[in-house]
């Protein structure tokens, strides 16, 4: 039985810390999500556990963390559903040539550099229960992630969504998102071959069959929801209950198949009908609870698993190396590809900077990696720092590359001069 008082104290402490740090970083022009990520880390052994060990032990005794973990996992499942729901598959179809090259390069360049880095890190930060292939593929996938939701919000806030830069970036990020999840599914299969609880043919065949079923029959069946919506004149509680059941069932299925629950939730979001009466109201209903409560819980859960104490000596050099490779691969790869596709240097750097935002999507990927044991706790901690740094650097870099006066020109259809 959970200690309800303790659980309530934990949740309250996390929410307060997330709001306070979120507000503080907003004052320096950073997205709140950066502050919430930082708050999660601060509540873990890296700061609270180091500065006030007694309070840390009282607030987060190891045996109590299972309940917090369960809550954060449920939150994550719903968050991934929203990510899938916000993903517009039409973006993947109507891409210009610049978006095709940029998106593919923005995946493969960091992926390749990540795999190269794995040659150095595998003997130092892994162990013989993980195959090199799984380790390298995971590191590559983790390097190539883009935070689609954060990026979309940044573009909207700066009024850049309808500019050419915005459309190319958002299309490339959408491709990145889908590709990264597909790659991660493959990594899980590779990583679990040695000690899978589900036989590999069942895992691979079952997952493929499930994806196919979701993209065809279930998607077709869900279109009936549009008629139900019309009959009810909007989103009723019954429909929300059906959607919640659908999300949980899909997450349960992929978890049961040996792939992570987040895939099922993401897929459930992707196959939902894109009816205006459904998507917007669903996002509105879930959004506040997600942002105010469940995401901070997930960040805190991540912070509790992460420990800067594990990063000692040479590991700080590895950390700098990982951040450098992540930025070089993602920012450099995307910018050069956009430039050779005919975009100006300024636009190309802006695209690279935006694509380099990893945000909480990186944290989702890293938690999956730690769950399946393909990365070690020290590497997890280093990669969380990398996610934080790459997300933190986006806003100031973008403001420098695209100052407001140039942004106004771009918004009105003009091309700012090349930098």
């Amino acid at each position: 039985m959970p200690d309800v008082l303790l659980l309530l104290s934990q949740i309250a402490g996390i929410l307060v810390a997330a709001r306070l740090v979120g507000r503080a970083v907003a004052l320096i022009g950073q997205p709140r999500v950066v502050g919430e990520m930082m708050a999660g880390i601060m509540l873990g052994p890296s700061l609270l556990g180091w500065a006030a060990p007694e309070l840390f032990h009282r607030l987060f005794p190891p045996l109590s963390l299972g309940f917090l973990s369960a809550l954060s996992q449920i939150g994550l499942v719903f968050f991934m559903f929203l990510v899938g729901l916000e993903l517009d598959l039409k973006l993947l179809r109507g891409q210009g040539r610049a978006a095709v090259v940029t998106s593919h390069a923005s995946i493969i360049a960091p992926f390749f550099l990540g795999a190269c880095l794995a040659l150095f890190l595998y003997p130092r930060l892994s162990d013989d229960s993980v195959s090199f292939t799984a380790f390298a593929l995971f590191l590559g996938a983790a390097m190539s992630v883009t935070a689609f939701p954060v990026l979309a919000r940044m573009l909207t806030e700066r009024g850049m969504l309808k500019t050419r830069l915005g459309t190319v970036t958002i299309a490339a990020a959408a491709v990145d998102d889908v590709t990264a999840w597909c790659i991660l599914a493959v990594v899980i299969v590779v990583a679990r071959t040695a000690e899978a609880t589900v036989p590999i043919p069942v895992m691979v065949g079952g997952t493929a069959l499930y994806v196919l079923l979701m993209l065809t029959a279930v998607r077709w069946g869900l279109r009936r929801l549009e008629h139900v919506l019309e009959r009810h004149g909007g989103l009723s509680q019954d429909i929300v209950a059906i959607v919640v059941f659908f999300i949980l069932a899909s997450a349960w299925t992929t978890e049961r198949l040996g792939v992570h629950a987040v895939f099922g939730a993401f897929l459930a979001g992707v196959v939902m009908p894109r009816d205006d009466q459904l998507v917007r109201p669903l996002l509105d209903r879930f959004h506040d609870l997600m942002v105010i409560m469940f995401l901070p819980l997930f960040f805190a859960f991540t912070g509790l698993r992460m420990s800067v104490i594990l990063i000692t000596g040479d590991l700080w050099i590895y950390c700098a190396l990982i951040i450098a490779v992540a930025v070089l691969g993602k920012l450099g790869g995307s910018a050069l590809a956009a430039r050779t596709s005919g975009m100006s240097w300024r636009d190309s750097w802006a695209i690279g900077t935006l694509m380099n935002t990893r945000g909480l999507m990186e944290l989702v990927v890293l938690n999956v990696g730690l769950d399946i044991g393909v990365i070690s706790p020290a590497l997890f901690s280093i990669m969380v720092l990398m996610a934080l740094v790459t997300t933190f650097m986006t806003s100031p870099m973008l403001a420098r590359i695209y100052p407001m006066r140039l942004l106004r020109v771009a918004r009105h259809g003009g091309e700012p001069e090349s930098a």
Partner: protein
């Protein structure tokens, strides 16, 4: 033509390189895996209440996480003492400090007392076994307490904590 060329340079070449890296990496060796939760085996109780608690109280466990040759862990039924250490071949060496609030007050573990665990990992049928010794600052001059801990060789890898 320019688009095709840039696609080949930015996508084709790194992809080919990736395949090469995956091939090259097969020759690499990583340190022996020792991570996991090892159940401390029942043993004759030591004189000190703190020792008795750490090694024989309830479901006493030595929980190890591993990053290459770097180890972190906890000892005790509630993960009471945090440990940091290294792995060298099959030998483990971990150190920690009894922190305020880390252990229950009634077991009287002296706060600030240092704890040291050394162990050798070996296979034992379907188990992975640690033959370990525990020292604390209180007994630094005296004999160490020997104990044994084991975990299944194949175990569910999910690392929630």
């Amino acid at each position: 033509m320019r688009q095709l060329l840039s696609y080949l340079v930015f996508v084709g070449v790194p992809f080919a390189g990736l395949l090469g890296v995956l091939r090259l990496g097969q020759k690499l060796d990583a340190p022996t895996a020792v991570h996991g939760a090892y159940a401390v085996q029942p043993m004759a109780a030591s004189g000190l209440v703190c020792y008795r608690y750490l090694l024989t109280g309830g479901d006493s466990t030595i929980h190890l996480t591993q990053s290459g040759e770097q180890l972190a862990g906890t000892l005790g039924p509630n993960g009471d003492v945090n440990l940091l250490g290294t792995l060298s071949g099959a030998d483990l060496s971990l150190k920690g400090v009894i922190s305020p609030g880390g252990t229950p007050r009634h077991v009287a573990c002296p706060v600030g007392d240092s704890v040291r665990v050394t162990a050798r990992v070996s296979r034992w049928g379907q188990l992975k076994r640690l033959d370990a010794q525990l020292w604390t600052a209180t007994t630094a001059q005296g004999p160490a307490v020997a104990f044994m801990a084991a975990r299944p060789r194949r175990y569910e890898r999910r690392r929630h904590f």
